[in-house]
Symmetry: C2
Subunit: 194 residues, 2 copies
């Protein structure tokens, strides 16, 4: 990337979200996104394979943060604690992007193809986390169950956080959701809600 | 359905699974499925919207069994116990279809479109279970977390069961997986595996 295109990637993401929100995802073209960002289509395709991937470009970083946090947890950490550490690390990625995340989620929820893509990405994230747990010597099915449970907590917490106004703390919502999962699986008949 | 087409639906499912296994899902046409089943294309379309839906025709029944079991659990049952009862009821649906389930899963795993469809169906199943829990007075996020955790247990147990030979007992695998989820979320550092 040349220096004449500062933060091209971020500008393209921002322009795409605006246009998807204004006109709908289906109706927006790559040419329009590039124009809104003040960049060329060629620059767009240097950063993203297609207009769908603009919405999923952060998934690689998310996976890396998750897997790294699981791998780096102390040897003595139980699988669920390694997962909790990974969820908090992932939460930090989004903390400054509350409004962005709200807009992105609204666009995805409105389109079946995008929703399927999101689910595939989350399933592959769960697989990556399970692999990271296996590298710690956790056998199946514990590794798969811990990873799936972690993704469930992440999804539920993320949806709650998206629904809150102001500048809610995603780490707090994740911790609360993890505590509630623990209470639920321990057989609590009613769980404290805030 | 006329009486000259006994078990047309089952015959079409069987024929489709055979052909998808032999030729691949992409390469198989509705005409071929109908022919293999000894039925007409018109009969096919009386039972299924398209060749993809042959693989997902059981999802309505699965959802009904899940939701009914959650609704019928005793008032005193904790959410996780209502979920466990629903998982066992769902398991009974598949018990006699081990080989069928193995073949179906192999076909789905080989095709990204089918895999996305499967994930969407599972996500909507989790939503239906969460709704059934809310009708029992369980508030969110406990309802969502219990439902997501239940689907995670179901997926992991189903995959283990598919991988076993002989006539493994799906209910047993589900119970074991639920116990392992409980152990994992309780912070067990190693979980007994069998």
């Amino acid at each position: 990337m040349g220096r004449w295109e500062p933060n091209a990637r971020g500008r393209l993401e921002q322009a795409a979200l605006e246009l998807y929100g204004e006109r709908g995802y289906e109706q927006t073209t790559v040419a329009e996104i590039a124009k809104r960002a003040g960049l060329t289509e060629r620059t767009f395709f240097r950063h993203f394979a297609d207009k769908r991937e603009v919405l999923f470009g952060g998934q690689g970083a998310l996976r890396e943060v998750f897997v790294h946090a699981v791998a780096e947890a102390p040897d003595s950490a139980a699988p669920i604690d390694a997962i909790a550490a990974a969820l908090e690390a992932a939460g930090a990625l989004f903390q400054e992007r509350h409004e962005h995340s709200q807009r992105r989620q609204a666009i995805i929820a409105a389109n079946a193809e995008l929703l399927e893509r999101e689910l595939i990405k989350l399933a592959s994230l769960a697989e990556a986390i399970a692999d990271a747990l296996r590298l710690r010597g956790i056998t199946d099915p514990a590794a798969s169950l811990a990873a799936e449970a972690g993704i469930a907590v992440f999804r539920v917490a993320f949806a709650r956080w998206i629904g809150e106004t102001g500048r809610p703390d995603l780490s707090r919502v994740i911790r609360e959701s993890m505590d509630e999962l623990k209470a639920v699986t321990a057989g609590a008949s009613r769980v404290d809600t805030r």
